[in-house]
Each structure stands twice: as structure tokens, then as C-alpha cells.
């Protein structure tokens, strides 16, 4: 073999070695963990179930389950210290799939535990904690609806009777490759809230798994590549930032390392401080009235996935020509009618609605009075006012719909939708039976009479932060009919209501007269000087 001049076999060998080393290098973004879990003998076994894996995890991480069991992710309960409302997924009613009780086995596919199939679930058993739901890095750990938080432990037909099959989860492989949480692990539930991708939040969907900078400057997979936990900083398995206790206004500065500050770290100000606009300082004058998100999240559902904007349960139950449940899709292939659920409206690139918000949220819970009228029942009322000194203007998604209520007790009801039993609405489409079963599951009675009531649910918009050159521009608010046209209690130059024709005419007349005077005066001075010359 002829080598180029100056090339030795040693160089060839070194080149090969370097190439080998480069090829063997882990891919970009690979774990920098100091532990290779595949080397732990506790994990070198063929696990038969999730709890067996947890038992192995806890043999080293002795306190992990105890920590998890104190969190909302585990209890699905939250006691609002302000108004003493008992919230959490276990207690609230929403206008998507309505409620968790009586539907545990389906809903708890998003519980970080194993075996929550009814109200007898034991929250004290440590091996019931599911470590892998949050720490899987393989993407192969999939908790399926209807399995009470378990993954398939053997190949099985899923859904039952569908003719489709899922493979058993390789628990050994998943356990040996555990790592930090990721957008994928958090997103497995939070991107799919409300029963599917992009349904609930509007600013959280699977487009954020690998977003570009246009979609989110922080999660940009080629740039900052934030995971959820970068902002939702976690300590002792307790994840900061919650919609049950939102931080509407953060008047503190950026958090620094070593700070003992216990404030919510998942706010913009935690990193950017109170005066983040260095080039256009005038913008800092807006921060006392506007949440950062109001300008920096110009629209939601921007990742190419439509979010649900309304859900009308009152039309559910219509069958197709063959007498079987049907779905109807629009020209973009969005499901806009489902016999099981009713009518939907979906949308992409949605401009938010804007409200004053001070962080307090009042829920309409089971037993709270509701009245059928043209005015919708607000399932979670965001409190706020321009005059309370603690509110700012926030962008929100308002999800509208109609859902069943008891016309005698005048209360929202729980609907038993899932499962194969006689009362399951999605199986038998019988409202009376499904509501009775849902209410019975929480020890409540149902009068037997139901109707549908209009409801609204509000969701703060805070993700999908656009690049600064795509933020909401001045003229989008400072004009007639702008984004903040309906906002009360604040003066916005250029807005219709802040616009008085007579005053404008007087102002412009004064400006014109001033200009006229300057021109005349200047002209006279010039003319006078020429004569003297």
C-alpha cells in the first residue's frame, strides 16, 4: 500500500484509534451521571413487575419513596391554605373528562404509582411508588390507560378486543438506564392532559419534545435545551410550580446560588429579575402591570398541534349509521365529534385571552351550587383586579364547554366513563347509570335528573416562549381593538377607550401651532439677517 509522503503506519493507527474513540463516544446530550445503573447487581435481574423494580431502587435510594409520598404527584390532593378548598386531581371537577373518581384505573396511568384502581389504594406502601415513570430514559416505558398505573408485563392485546397488541416492557433494560427526568417523561402526562396530545393546556404538547427556538427559546433542543425541571426545580422529589398554587406576581429578584429564598423558582423573574429589558428600558415600565408571558407568549398551540378549545358533552351518545359509536373529523383530520364525548372545537396558533390575575383561584367543586343560564359556571375562577395591588395582566386559555349537572341538587356531577361494567358511559351511553355510579364512588347521591350546564375553565399560558423578536409588539395593544381592548383599570395609550377625540384634536392643534410658530419665527430671523447683510 502506498501512503502519502510523511504518513507513517503509526499515524494511521492513531487515526484509527481516534476514529474508534469518536465512534464510541456517547451521543450528544447523553447522561453525564456518575453512576452506571447497569453495573448495579440489584438491577441485574429479570423483574416481573414495577413494584419489584421499585424495591431494588429503594435498596439504595432509601428515602426516595417517603419523599414522593408527600407530594401532589403522589397524593393527587392539595389543600389550598388561602381558602381551605381541597383540590388536587382526586377532588376537582373539570370540563374535559370531568373527574377521576370511579375512573381510577384509566386516569392513574398518569399516577406515579402502581395499583391505584379504586378508592382502596394503599398510599403508604413504598413499593407502590413508580420510579420509572419519571426516570425512564429509553422511551419504552409506557403506562397504559386502564391498567392502574402498571405497564404491560407480558405481551397482550390492547385495548382488549381491539386486535392490536403491545409488547411486554423490558423492565430490566429500563431500570438499568434510568436517569434524570426529561421533557419526555414529564410530557408523557402533562402533554397529554385531558385525554390526549395538546388537549388541555394549549401551551404544552408533544411539539415540545424536541422544539426549535421559534417554539420555545428555553426548551430549544439545539440551544438551551431546558428540561421541565430546569425551571420547575425539584427538591426531595417535590416539583416546584403548580397551577393549584400559582405565582401570578413575583416581585423578587433573580435567585442566586446559595440563596435561602424559598420562593417559587418556576417564574421568569427567578432568572431574569425585575428589569430584564436592557436595550429598551421603557419596556421595564410595563412589568408592574403585565406578566412577562403577556408579551413573550404571543400565541399558544404554535407547534403544529391543535389544542381543544371547547367540549360539548351534551351532544355525546349519537351513533353512526351502523348503530355503533362514531367519530367525525374535519378537513385537517381533527376529531370534532366523538360519540363517547360529544362535539369539540380545536385550534392552532391561538391568541390568548387576557385577565387580571393575583394568583388566587377559586374552584367550583362537587356540592357547590351551579345554575343553568347563559352565563357559564366558572370551574376555576382566577381572581384579580387592577386595584388590588397584587394583580398583573396574564394570558390565559379559556376552555369552554357543556357538562352534566344534577338539576335537583344543582351541583356538577361525576361521570363514570371508563371500564367495561354496566354503568360505564363509554360502553353503554346511559347518562343516568354513569352519573349514579360516578356519584356513588364518592359517597354522594344522584337525584336521577340531569341536564347540561355551560362551563369555563381557565389555564394560564406560560410555556412556548417566543424569541424576543417574535414577542407581542407595541402596536398590538396600543391601538383600537388591540389585544388588551377588554382589560379594565389601566390606561393604554392608543386604545379605543383611552382615546378622546377632542383631547387628541386639541393636542395635535397645539403641536401644529407650535410647529407653525417655529417655522414663522425661523423664517423671520433668516429674512431679517439677510436684510442686515
Amino acid at each position: 500500500m502506498n501512503l502519502p509522503p510523511g504518513t507513517t503506519w503509526l499515524k494511521v493507527a492513531v487515526t484509527i484509534m481516534l476514529a474508534t474513540a469518536f465512534t464510541a463516544m456517547p451521543a450528544a446530550g447523553a447522561s453525564k451521571s456518575t453512576a452506571d445503573h447497569s453495573k448495579f447487581k440489584e438491577l441485574q435481574q429479570n423483574f416481573q413487575s414495577g413494584p419489584e423494580v421499585t424495591k431494588a431502587c429503594l435498596s439504595c435510594h432509601t428515602e426516595a419513596a417517603k419523599q414522593v409520598q408527600k407530594t401532589k404527584h403522589w397524593t393527587w390532593e392539595y389543600l389550598n391554605p388561602e381558602n381551605k378548598q381541597r383540590l388536587g386531581k382526586k377532588n376537582v371537577i373539570n370540563n374535559f373528562c370531568i373527574a377521576v373518581p370511579s375512573n381510577y384505573a384509566a386516569c392513574t396511568a398518569c399516577h406515579i404509582g402502581y395499583g391505584w384502581k379504586d378508592d382502596k389504594f394503599d398510599f403508604t406502601v413504598e413499593t407502590n411508588v413508580d420510579c420509572l415513570a419519571c426516570h425512564d430514559t429509553t422511551g419504552s416505558y409506557l403506562k397504559l390507560a386502564g391498567m392502574a398505573g402498571h405497564v404491560p408485563y407480558k405481551d397482550m392485546e390492547y385495548p382488549p378486543g381491539s386486535g392490536s397488541f403491545v409488547k411486554a416492557t423490558d423492565l430490566k433494560k429500563v431500570a438499568q438506564k434510568v436517569g434524570k427526568t426529561s421533557r419526555d417523561t414529564c410530557g408523557a402526562c402533562h402533554f397529554n392532559g385531558g385525554g390526549g396530545n395538546a388537549v388541555k393546556h394549549g401551551d404544552l404538547d408533544t411539539s415540545l419534545e424536541a422544539p426549535d427556538k421559534e417554539l420555545d427559546v428555553h426548551m430549544d433542543s439545539l440551544g438551551l435545551n431546558f428540561t421541565c425541571a430546569t425551571c420547575h426545580k425539584t427538591g426531595g422529589h417535590d416539583v416546584a410550580g403548580s397551577r393549584y398554587a400559582p405565582t401570578a406576581v413575583d416581585r423578587k429578584g433573580a435567585q442566586v446560588r446559595g440563596s435561602e429564598d424559598r420562593k417559587n423558582p418556576a417564574t421568569c423573574q427567578s432568572c431574569h429579575g425585575q428589569a430584564p429589558h436592557t436595550k429598551t428600558a421603557k419596556l421595564n415600565d410595563h412589568t408592574s402591570k403585565l406578566a412577562c408571558q403577556t408579551c413573550h407568549v404571543p400565541s399558544f398551540a404554535r407547534g403544529g398541534i391543535a389544542t381543544k378549545m371547547s367540549w360539548d358533552w351534551s351532544t355525546a351518545g349519537k351513533m353512526g349509521p351502523d348503530g355503533k359509536p362514531m367519530t367525525v373529523k374535519d378537513d385537517k383530520k381533527h376529531v370534532i365529534y366523538d360519540s363517547k364525548k360529544g362535539d369539540f372545537v380545536l385550534a392552532e396558533n391561538v391568541t390568548p385571552e387576557y385577565i387580571w390575575f393575583n394568583g388566587s383561584v377559586q374552584y367550583t367543586l362537587r356540592g357547590d351550587p351551579v345554575e343553568k343560564s347563559d352565563q357559564p359556571t366558572r370551574i376555576n375562577r382566577f381572581e384579580g383586579s387592577p386595584h388590588d395591588g397584587k394583580s398583573v395582566i396574564w394570558p390565559v386559555k379559556v376552555f369552554r364547554g357543556q357538562q352534566p349537572y344534577d338539576t335537583v341538587s344543582k351541583s356538577l356531577v361525576i361521570l363514570h366513563t371508563t371500564g367495561n361494567d354496566d354503568a360505564s358511559y363509554w360502553k353503554h351511553f346511559n347518562w343516568e347509570k354513569a352519573i349514579a355510579a360516578g356519584m356513588a364512588s364518592v359517597g354522594d347521591t344522584f337525584s336521577g335528573k340531569y341536564d347540561f350546564v355551560k362551563t369555563e375553565m381557565t389555564w394560564p399560558i406560560t410555556h412556548m416562549v417566543a424569541p424576543k423578536d417574535k414577542a407581542v409588539g407595541c402596536v398590538e395593544c396600543h391601538k383600537a381593538g388591540g389585544r388588551l381592548e377588554k382589560i379594565e383599570g389601566v390606561y393604554i395609550p392608543g386604545r379605543s377607550r383611552d382615546h378622546l377625540g377632542l383631547l387628541d384634536t386639541a393636542g395635535w392643534s397645539l403641536a401644529a401651532l407650535t410647529l407653525f410658530g417655529v417655522v414663522v419665527h425661523g423664517s423671520l430671523r433668516i429674512a431679517t439677517r439677510k436684510k442686515k447683510d
Binding site: 503509526l10 484509527i16 474508534t20 469518536f22 451521543a27 450528544a28 409488547k167 424536541a210 439545539l222
Partner: protein
């Protein structure tokens, strides 16, 4: 004799390299980023549509990748491997940040990443995935 030793050493290293390369089983997450930000970008401009992993089964993707026939419109290089090659990435690096970021990734590795991603999100996988 010296030449023989050097050849032998080179051969051993070569085998090690091939063996190591073969052990690389693809990073589906990196494949997803490249697919969504390079492949999809091109699909949208050339084919006027997105092509998602969930449009084929795992077997269909494997056959498609093996066949190495890519652009049915014949508007671009018909080789699938070319679409992940360094040469291609280099040609678009000024207008595509993902191509620039992954410029130095060995071709074989990136091809494995892409394969891992489409199989991960295939129609018959546990995570049928579409590209937005």
C-alpha cells in the same frame, strides 16, 4: 516483518472500530431532533407535507432504510444516506441550525439515530409519533 506487525495492528484496530461502531444502537432522541428540524424542514419545502414516523410500520421503515431510496420526486439526491451525510449537513449548515450542530457526528451514527427514531415512533410501536 515490521510492516507485517503494523498491518496486523491496523487490522486489529479496524476490527475493534467496526465492532464498536456496530455496538452503537442509535440515540432516538437525537434522531428525533435531526428528523424534526432537518428532515421535516426539507419535506415541507420539497414535498409540501410532513412525513411522520407513524406513517409506516417498523418493518416498512426497516425495508425503506435498507433500500436507500429516498426522494420520489427526484428533485434531490435519491439516496437516503445522503440526507444524513456530512456532505449534506455541510451544504445546508448556514440555513439549518440542526445540520450545523450535528455536522461532526459520524454518518453511521446519525443514520442509526434516525433509524432508532422512526422505529420508536412507527405505526406499530408503543409511541406512534407524528411530525408537526
Amino acid at each position: 516483518m515490521r510492516m507485517t506487525k503494523q498491518l496486523l495492528m491496523g487490522a486489529v484496530l479496524g476490527i475493534v472500530m467496526v465492532g464498536t461502531a456496530g455496538a452503537y444502537d442509535g440515540d432516538w432522541k437525537r434522531g428525533r431532533v435531526y428528523y424534526r428540524q432537518v428532515c421535516t424542514d426539507c419535506h415541507q419545502s420539497m414535498a409540501k407535507k410532513t412525513i411522520s414516523p407513524n406513517e409506516k410500520t417498523k418493518a416498512e421503515w426497516t425495508a425503506y432504510i435498507t433500500a436507500d431510496k429516498h426522494d420520489a420526486t427526484k428533485k434531490s439526491n435519491p439516496s437516503l444516506k445522503y440526507a444524513t451525510s456530512r456532505a449534506y449537513r455541510d451544504s445546508i449548515k448556514t440555513k439549518n441550525k440542526a445540520a450545523e450542530k450535528f455536522l461532526e457526528v459520524p454518518d453511521a451514527e446519525l443514520q442509526a439515530d434516525i433509524k432508532a427514531w422512526v422505529l420508536y415512533g412507527a405505526k406499530d410501536s408503543d409511541n406512534p409519533s407524528r411530525c408537526q
